[in-house]
Symmetry: C2
Subunit: 416 residues, 2 copies
C-alpha cells in the first residue's frame, strides 16, 4: 500500500469534459475506411480451421476421379435388368468383386455382374449398380429383382467437384467440412489471412498484474485478460500485454510497437494523466475522441504509422463496450471476418420500460427471463459483475428515448 | 495404384441391411445416460477462456475493497452543498487531491473538499462526490454549483461483488469478461473440466492421409481433418488421428487407447469388412447399431471399458451428420457444455416443398436465399461439396412426410 500523500502541492488537474463528441456512426465510418486486410500466409490445410481464405480455391482434380459405385450391390449392364421384378428374377453370372481402390480388371459383358462395394471403381462394361436389397444372391450367381436404369447408383467423374471449379471463395471462414473438402482434393496448403497482431497497453499506477491479489488501494487489472479473449474471438492474437506507468515516454514507446492494432486501456479521457490521446494526436492521428454513447463515452481511435490505435476507458464495462463497438469491428475487418456483431441475437419483448437519453447510443445490459427482456438496474460502468450477470445487451440508438414494455428489441447474447 | 484383383476367389461379402434400426431418440437417450463429465483440472485463470467451470467460484474479497469515487470531481460532505445552484455557488476549500491508489491522509471537514479522480479512495470525512461539471474551480477553492446527496457518485465497499458471494457458477462456459472478473478478485487458478481426449480412427484400404494428392483409385481421407475441427468446437482435442488398415487386430488395438472418446470413421455398417461394430460387441458393448435416419443410417455407438465409441459412416456427409447427431452431443456433455446443437438457428419459410420419408429422421441440407429456405437437390451422402455449398440444414422428424412451401422451419447454420 503506497503512503497517503498528505498535503500535496495543489496541481492543475484539468478536469474538463469533451468539447464535442463524435457519433457512433462517425467512428464506424472511420474504422471502415481504415481497415484493410492483414497480409495472407500459406499454411497447412489441416491447421486452418476457423481461418479466413485470402484467395479462391479451385480444384486441381475431379471428385470422384473415376466412376464409382454409390451403393453396395452389383455392377451390371442396365439393359440386363429390363423387366426384372421380385416375381421375375433375372439371373446374372457373378464374375468377381470390386472393392474401394481394388478395381476388377475384367470387363462386364451381357449377362454378367460384379459384386461391388460403395466407393469402388465401376468395372468397364457396367453402367449401373443393382442395390444388394434388389438382388437374390446364391453362389456365383445373382438374380436381379428390379430393373435399374443406366447410371443408377453410379457416381460420375467430377459430379461432386469438377476439376478447375471454384470450391471455396476468398473471404470464407473455413468450417470443419471445408478443411475436409480441401484435403480430399489434395490441396495441402492454402492462403489465409494471418491473425491480427494486437498489443494491449494497460495504464494506471493503481493496477496490479493479473494473477495478483488485490491489496490495499491497489486493484488487479481485469481488462487485459478480458481483451485477450475478445481479440482471440475476433481473429487476432495478443502478442504483448503489459501494464505501463502513467508516463508519456513509456506509453509512446509502447505505441510504436510493430503490430497491427494497439489497444490502450485506461487514460483515454481528457484528464491531465490521460497521455495516450495527446500522444496519438501529436505523433499520429487522433481521428475520434469522445463518442456520444453510454458507457464508453471517453473512447478514442486513431493511427500511428500503419497501426490502428484504440483508446478504451479503464472502467471494465466501458472497456468491454468500447472494444466491442470499435476495436473488435476493426480487428474483424483486418482479419477478413464480417464486421457485424459477433454475438447471436434474438428479437424478444421487453418485460419493463427501457429508458435511454436522446443524443447518445446506449449499451444496455439486460437479463432474459422466460424469453422476456429485463433491463438491468446498473449504476455505473465499473460494475464488471453486471456483464457476467447479464445475458447480453440491447443497443438503443441515439435518436431514441427508449422503449415501452412489450416492445420487441434485439438482444445480443454474451454467450454467442 | 494397387493391382486390379482380376478373378478373385468369390468371397462371401455379407451385404445385408440392418435387421432393426434404432430411433434417433434411442441413441440420444443412450448418450445422455453414458456421458458423465471428464475430470476437472486447476488452471491459470488467464488461460481458461472458453473452458467450463467445474465448481462455483466465490469471491475472496469485496469489490470495491474500499469506498471509491465513481466520477472525477470533488470529495465533499454532502451537507455543505445543500442549496447550491448554478446561481448560488457555495465555496469550499480544496485541501488536496486523491488519485487512484494514492489516497489523501487528511480528513475532509465541514467547508472542505478534496480533488478526486475516478477510482480513487474516498477521503475520510467525505461522503459524496461533486462532479467536476457541477463545480466552478479557481486556485485552491471550488464552488459547488449543485447539491449532492450523501453517497452520490461513491462506490461502496462490496457493492460490485460482496466477499463470499458466488461470482460464477459451475457449468459456466467462461466468457472474456468472466476471466476479467476472476482476475479482478484475485482468483489466480480455477477448476475447469479438462478437454475431452478423442482418438480418431479412419478405416479404409483406399485412403491416403490428409496432405496427399489423390492418385489412381485411392482417395484422400477428408474425415479426420473435418473431425478435428468439430471435436475442437465441442470442447475436445484429437490426441491421435490415424488411418488403420481394414484389419481387426489393428482396429482392436486402437479401440483400447487411453482416451475418453473414440471416433471410428468408415467400416461402421454390417458388411464383411466392417470390423469395428463386431469388435465393439465382442469386447465391450455395441449399444446402438443402425439408426432410422438419412444420411448416416449405418451409425453405431457403444462402450469399451470407460471409453465411448462412435461408429461413423465413411461417407463424408454421413460422417459429418453422425458426428453432429451423436458424437458431438456426447463430447459436449463430457466437456460440461450444453448438449443442444452448436449452431445458430433461425425459423425461416420454405421456398419449396421439402420431401421426407415417414419412419426416419432426415438431415436435409438447405440453402438460404433472401431469408427463404431452399432444400438442396442432393443425390448422395458422398457429396461433401453439398455441405460447403449449403448454408445449413433442417431436421425433419421421423413422423413427418416433409413440409409444404412457406412452412416455417428451423434452419441450423453451418457458420454457427
Amino acid at each position: 500500500m503506497p503512503p497517503p500523500n498528505s498535503n500535496p502541492p495543489p496541481r492543475d488537474v484539468r478536469m474538463r469534459g469533451f468539447s464535442r463528441r463524435s457519433t457512433v456512426e462517425d467512428a464506424w465510418n472511420w474504422i471502415d475506411q481504415q481497415s484493410i486486410h492483414v497480409p495472407a500466409e500459406a499454411l497447412d490445410t489441416v491447421s486452418v480451421g476457423g481461418r479466413v481464405l485470402a484467395t479462391d480455391v479451385t480444384s486441381p482434380v475431379n471428385v470422384p476421379a473415376f466412376d464409382r459405385a454409390m451403393m453396395d450391390g452389383f455392377a451390371v449392364q442396365a439393359d440386363d435388368t429390363l423387366g426384372a421384378t421380385p416375381y421375375n428374377g433375372l439371373p446374372l453370372e457373378v464374375i468377381g468383386q470390386a472393392l474401394p481402390a481394388q478395381p476388377i480388371g475384367d470387363i462386364v459383358k451381357r449377362g454378367q455382374a460384379v459384386r461391388i462395394m460403395t466407393g469402388a471403381p465401376m468395372p468397364d462394361g457396367a453402367n449401373a449398380v443393382l442395390q444388394v436389397e434388389q438382388a437374390n444372391i446364391s453362389e456365383d450367381q445373382v438374380e436381379a429383382l428390379d430393373a435399374v436404369t443406366p447410371g443408377k447408383h453410379v457416381g460420375k467423374v467430377g459430379e461432386d467437384i469438377a476439376q478447375g471449379s471454384v470450391v471455396l471463395r476468398s473471404g470464407r471462414r473455413l468450417r470443419p467440412q471445408d478443411i475436409g473438402i480441401l484435403a480430399s482434393i489434395g490441396v495441402a496448403k492454402v492462403s489465409v489471412f494471418r491473425r491480427v497482431r494486437v498489443r494491449v497497453l494497460v495504464t494506471g499506477n493503481e493496477l496490479l498484474p493479473p494473477g495478483s491479489k488485490p491489496e490495499g488501494f491497489q486493484i488487479v487489472d481485469s481488462n487485459s485478460p478480458m481483451l485477450r479473449g475478445l481479440v482471440g474471438r475476433d481473429g487476432g492474437d495478443v502478442t504483448c500485454s503489459e501494464i505501463v506507468a502513467d508516463d508519456p515516454r513509456e506509453i509512446l514507446a509502447a505505441l510504436k510497437d510493430d503490430v497491427d492494432v494497439i489497444l490502450v486501456s485506461g487514460g483515454s479521457s481528457v484528464g491531465q494523466e490521460d497521455y495516450a490521446p495527446r500522444l496519438l494526436a501529436e505523433h499520429g492521428e487522433l481521428a475520434i475522441h469522445g463518442v456520444a454513447m453510454r458507457p464508453s463515452s471517453p473512447s478514442g481511435m486513431g493511427r500511428l504509422g500503419e497501426r490502428l490505435v484504440f483508446l478504451l476507458p479503464g472502467n471494465p464495462v466501458s472497456c468491454l463496450c468500447a472494444y466491442d463497438f470499435f476495436a473488435g469491428r476493426a480487428i474483424r475487418a483486418l482479419a477478413g471476418l464480417p464486421t457485424e456483431w459477433p454475438y447471436r441475437s434474438r428479437h424478444l419483448p421487453l418485460a419493463r420500460k427501457l429508458v435511454s437519453m436522446v443524443g447518445r447510443v446506449d449499451y444496455a445490459r439486460v437479463d432474459v427471463v422466460d424469453d422476456r427482456v429485463e433491463p438491468m438496474a446498473v449504476s455505473g460502468a465499473s460494475m464488471l459483475s453486471s456483464t457476467t450477470r447479464a445475458a447480453g445487451f440491447v443497443i438503443v440508438p441515439a435518436d431514441s428515448e427508449g422503449y415501452a414494455p412489450e416492445t420487441p428489441v434485439e438482444v445480443f447474447f454474451y454467450d454467442r
